[in-house]
């Protein structure tokens, strides 16, 4: 299928700003789905609220655009209802880690076969550039005019500690790798988290004088290292697969339990 066959073309061009990384994530995600050979009817996309969450509107899968931070809760319901479906959840860093932090850790702990795509642009884009739990220390935001004093979350570490069975990181510069990681995440039979460092030139870029979208991509290119190949220098971005382990999946466990309990009644 052509890439545009996965789009709801009547809503294009999309609403995202020129150079916004969310469009690159959408582009890569469609290619990953196409490579796996999934039918549009096999995929459910569930999103919350945020610029990132708008993705669900542009893709011609089964889609739900739900509440800020709660997409994983709705996704859990959809997957439980029909475990055969592939459920993909695009989330902003605020959506996933601030208001949705609780849902995020518990979804990871449960190991249900969902694919969480954390589009980390280090800021709240939609609401005007407030700092998020993923804004690095000393960086500027509308709500941090003198630089933030908070320590940020490391998405990979949070996901790993909470029990996600597939955890990876890439950037919007590294598109070939990104397609491969999204594909691996969708195919992994458990809770997958793919953190994608993603540019918001309009707010994060402007507030931090990071330049244009092109400059932000150059930054990703110049500061990324493959896992284990870095020096640990501040600002270094480690990319690759951090966790990949097949562990009992939630819907499978639930089904076995139902069989066991019903069998016991006889």
């Amino acid at each position: 299928m052509a890439v545009t066959d996965y789009l709801r073309e009547q809503f294009m061009p999309h609403i995202w700003c020129p150079g916004c990384g969310h469009g690159i994530v959408l582009n890569s995600l469609v290619r990953a789905v196409e490579q796996i050979g999934l039918e549009k009817n096999d995929v459910v996309m569930v999103s919350g609220i945020g610029c990132s969450a708008r993705m669900a509107g542009y893709l011609d899968f089964h889609t739900m655009h739900t509440l800020h931070g709660r997409a994983l809760a709705f996704a859990t319901g959809a997957k439980m209802g029909n475990p055969r479906l592939k459920v993909i959840v695009p989330m902003g860093d605020g959506d996933a880690l601030a208001i949705g932090g609780n849902h995020f850790i518990h979804a990871a702990r449960r190991n249900m076969d969902l694919t969480a795509i954390v589009m980390n642009n280090n800021i709240y884009g939609m609401t005007g550039g407030q700092f998020s739990p993923a804004t690095p220390k000393n960086r500027y935001a509308t709500t941090a005019p003198y630089g933030t004093i908070d320590e940020p979350f490391d998405v990979v570490k949070v996901a790993t500690a909470a029990g996600a069975s597939f955890v990876a990181r890439s950037t919007t510069y590294h598109v070939n790798e990104l397609i491969k990681l999204i594909r691996e995440g969708i195919e992994h039979p458990g809770f997958s988290v793919i953190e994608i460092l993603d540019q918001c030139p309009t707010y994060y870029g402007r507030k931090n004088l990071s330049g244009s979208a092109v400059d932000m991509l150059k930054h990703f290119k110049e500061n990324s290292v493959k896992i284990g190949k870095g020096t640990g220098a501040p600002g270094e971005i480690e990319i690759g697969v951090f966790v990949k382990e097949v562990r009992p999946e939630y819907c499978d466990k639930y089904e076995s339990l139902v069989k066991e309990v019903q069998g016991g009644k006889k």
Binding site: M12, W16, P18, H22, G23, V175, S212, A213, K218
Partner: protein, 71 residues
Amino acid sequence: MKKKLKFNRDWCKGCGICVEFCPKNVLELDDELKIYAPRSGDCIFCKMCELRCPDIAIQIIETQEESDEEK
């Protein structure tokens, strides 16, 4: 079969990502900040512009036209 760059000018937002990262310097933005390919003969169809475009405005398509060698 011949490969060809196809642009969707209505979707292009002129971000310049494709222009900057093309390894063969094929692409430019015109006066309206829309994509075009003044050096299309240099294109190696590596797909990097197609994959990095945030607006899905570039596609590499195969056309029925015969390539020069086939003529």
